[in-house]
Symmetry: C2
C-alpha cells in the first residue's frame, strides 16, 4: 500500500522525464522504518545520504526539509516505511552534471512491512548467479544504479526463499540483494568489507557499533561462501527489518537462530532511533 | 533546446515517482539522430533496444508505437536528436520485477547538435580516472545505470576537451564516456571487446560492418592505452555524430585526421539509415 508521495515538498507523484535520476540513475535513496510515528535512525540516514551526496557532488538538501516531507507523508500512519530519493534534478541530454543542479527530493510512504514467521525462525536464502561489479568510486553508496540487484531478484520465484546472497565478480561474499550479511564464529562477528562493492547499510553500522559496545569483537574483511560452513550463526540486516537470523543457505549450511543474533535484534540501541 | 516530450504516446513530461527507471535505473535508452526528418538507423536502434529488453526481461513495445512517438515528437523539426527511454514501469518498493510490468515509453526530441570545428579537425580527449566496473550481465546494453559515466564527465571542465576515454577496472581501454573508440594500425581497424563493460553502440556496429564490406580487416579485442602510441589514426563513434577523428589524447599521442577515418565518415552506409 502506497501512502503519500511528495516531490520537493509538494504532494504529487509526478517527476519530470528529463530528471537525471531517471536518465542516468544519478541520485541516491534511503529506506527508513517508521515505528510509533517516528522515523527510526533518522539522523543516521541523513548522515549517510549526505556523505554520498558529497561523494557524487550532489547538493544535500536541508535535513529539516526532509524531516518536514516525512511528517507530511506520514500523516495518520503510526507504522510505515519511508523511501527517500535525492536526484541531481532535471537536465539536458548528456552525462555531464549541470553546474547548479536543482536537486529533486522525493518522499514516498507505504504501509509497514508485516514481519513474517521466517523473520523469527530464520530465513532461507539462495546464492544468486548475478554478481556485483567492482568499482570503489561507487561502493558503499545507496545510489540509484541497481540493475545488478534487479537481475539478482529475478532469479527466483519461490516465496519460501526470503533473500539472495550476492558475490562480487571475484567471488567474495558481499551482501544480500537488499541486506548486509554477518557471520558469528567463535564469538566473533564477521561482515564483508564493502570497499569495492556493496552498500554501507545504516543497520550494518548500528550492529557493528552495538556489538563493539557490548564487548563483541567485529572483523570487517573478506569472506567467501566457504566461511558459511564454519559459522555458528548467520544473520542479515537492513534498516526496515533489523537483524534477522538465517536458517539455511540453499546448497550450503543450516543454522538455528543463535544467541548473538537474538541479543543484537533485541538490543535497544538497534531497535530505537 | 527541448522539442516535444511524450510518455506512453501522450504529450507530457511527467513520469511517476515510483517508476522503476527512476527507482533502480531499471530500463534502457537510445539516442538517435534525425536528418531531413528521418530517424537515422531507426531499425538498428529498435533491434538493439529489443535485444537488451530480452536480456533484462522487459517487454518490448511495438516498434510502430515508438515510430509514432517519434513522428509526434518531431513535428516541425527536420534535424533533431531523439532520446528514447524504456523502463520496466511503475512498481512498489523492492528490487524484484513485477510479473506483468507496464513498460514506460519515453520520447524526448531536442534540437540537433551543431557540429564543432573539432569534429573535423580532430577531438582532444582526456583519459578519465573513473573506471568501468566489469559485469558481463550488464555489458553491451545502453541501460539506465550510468553513474560511472556521470562521474567520468565530472572530471573536466575545459571546453576544448571533447570527450574522455574510459578504462575498465583491469586497465583495458573500453570506450569514451558517450562514444565507442577505434584505432587504425597498418590498415587494420581495432576496437575494444565489450564483453564485460561498455556499450555495443549502433554506430560501432555500422562502422565494423562497413569497414568489412569495404575490405578492411577489423579486430575486436583487448586494447590498452599503450596501443594508442602505435596507431596511425584514432576515431570515436556514436549514433548522433558518426565517426569523428581524434587529434590528441592528453598525455599521449597526436594524430591528423586520416584516410580510413575520413572514408568511413563519408561512406553512405554510415551516413544514411
Amino acid at each position: 500500500m502506497i501512502g503519500r508521495r511528495l516531490v520537493n515538498g509538494v504532494e504529487t507523484s509526478s517527476v519530470a522525464s528529463d530528471d537525471r535520476g531517471l536518465q542516468y540513475g544519478d541520485g541516491l535513496f534511503e529506506t527508513m522504518a517508521v515505528v510509533d510515528g517516528e522515523v527510526r535512525h533518522f539522523k543516521r540516514h541523513v548522515a549517510r545520504v549526505k556523505a554520498s551526496c558529497d561523494r557524487l557532488g550532489i547538493p544535500m538538501p536541508a535535513a529539516s526539509a526532509i524531516e518536514r516531507d516525512c511528517e507530511v507523508a506520514l500523516q495518520g500512519m503510526a507504522s510505515a516505511t519511508i523511501k527517500l530519493m535525492l536526484t541531481r534534478g532535471p537536465g539536458p541530454r548528456g552525462y555531464r552534471p549541470p553546474k547548479d543542479p536543482s536537486v529533486t527530493r522525493i518522499v514516498i510512504s507505504s504501509a509497514a512491512r508485516n514481519p513474517s514467521a521466517a523473520d523469527e525462525k530464520g530465513l532461507v536464502l539462495r546464492v544468486c548467479d548475478t554478481r556485483l561489479g567492482l568499482n570503489p568510486a561507487l561502493a558503499g553508496m545507496k545510489h540509484l544504479n541497481r540493475l545488478e540487484q534487479v537481475l539478482a531478484c529475478s532469479e527466483w520465484d519461490d516465496p519460501t526463499i526470503s533473500e539472495g546472497l550476492m558475490l562480487s565478480m571475484d567471488g567474495r561474499l558481499v551482501c544480500a540483494t537488499a541486506s548486509n550479511v554477518f557471520l558469528v564464529r567463535d564469538g566473533v562477528l564477521h561482515t564483508p568489507d564493502i570497499r569495492d562493492c556493496g552498500v554501507a547499510g545504516v543497520m550494518r553500522e548500528i550492529v557493528i557499533e552495538t556489538a563493539r559496545v557490548e564487548g563483541t569483537d567485529v572483523v570487517i574483511g573478506d569472506l567467501t561462501l566457504a566461511d558459511l560452513a564454519s559459522a555458528q550463526e548467520v544473520f542479515l540486516t537492513n534498516a526496515v527489518t533489523g537483524p534477522r537470523p538465517v536458517a539455511q543457505v540453499l546448497g550450503h549450511s543450516r543454522w538455528e537462530p543463535g544467541p548473538v543474533t537474538l541479543a543484537l535484534a533485541a538490543n535497544p540501541r538497534v531497535i530505537r532511533p
